[in-house]
Assembly symmetry: C2
Homo-oligomer: 149 residues x 2
Amino acid sequence: MTSVNDAPSQLTGPWSDHIAGLLGAALKRIRSEILAASEERFPGLRVSHYRLLELIPPEGARITDLAEVAVMTKQGLGQHVDYLQRLGYVESDRLRTDRRVRLVRRTARGDEAAAYSRAAIERVEAIWSDRLGPARYEALRETLRELGG
Amino acid sequence: MTSVNDAPSQLTGPWSDHIAGLLGAALKRIRSEILAASEERFPGLRVSHYRLLELIPPEGARITDLAEVAVMTKQGLGQHVDYLQRLGYVESDRLRTDRRVRLVRRTARGDEAAAYSRAAIERVEAIWSDRLGPARYEALRETLRELGG
DNA sequence: CCCGGAAGTAAAGCAGCCTTACTACTTGGA
DNA sequence: TCCAAGTAGTAAGGCTGCTTTACTTCCGGG
């Protein structure tokens, strides 16, 4: 669905002073907030796992669909699912109507984790909104949204 | 100099619709622009290499200092330097005054590559500035700068 | 019943880091 | 002058988070 090889690279540290650096720094702030209490509360989860957990709808989803939404290969996504299942954050069963399909669902623990990461992000948003004022913060979001479209 | 473990995770694909996703999408745009003609013009270079090349001042720099600026370990940075040296984008010599120190400099080819990536980023900035208008684009930059501070 | 395509898995590989454990070299004293 | 302590860098190995290639299993249409 998406181009080959938009993969790796960290882009974490400062990148001179262009926007790349500014955007990266903002992103890093969010990652840090999620990671802060993560290991203690949800052992084994890394940022990518929270992201995946958030992508799983309450009714569950198939690997293939999740892979498309997450913009990665089925194999890569399958690895994450296996890992999360081992740790008890998701569970999965083959569909009775089509036994090729594995329906992946969050467990209760997975729900908690998803809620946790969402809350962490909202915490950062609150801080930013407070610092800039709601109007400017909303303007930032709107601007970024336009750049994406 | 920086906290342990702000390392991995892609954060590349969409992250529901919060800012994390918006910021990530913008960053991805920049990476794509750099990568677009990269393999053809500067074989072997990936985004992280362009970033490193830009960090090297004209007079050269030591591994240790580069590592600090890039917010990574000396070993990690050293690997990049070795790689770039093998491909001819940088060169290095031990200092005569302190032979522990390896001074890393860009070659002419390395200068070209750094200029190329800078131009790619400026191209994206131009597109964005055009789409939003200069005032709003500058507001975006200013806002992001404030969030970082 | 067979064949093509879809869902998923297995194996291996690579980028981009990190940690731990060095070696080589310099510098500041006793 | 010599040595201990500290600094610059290297070596080896590990791990995440992906990828590609090559299957297997299973469904559905003819």
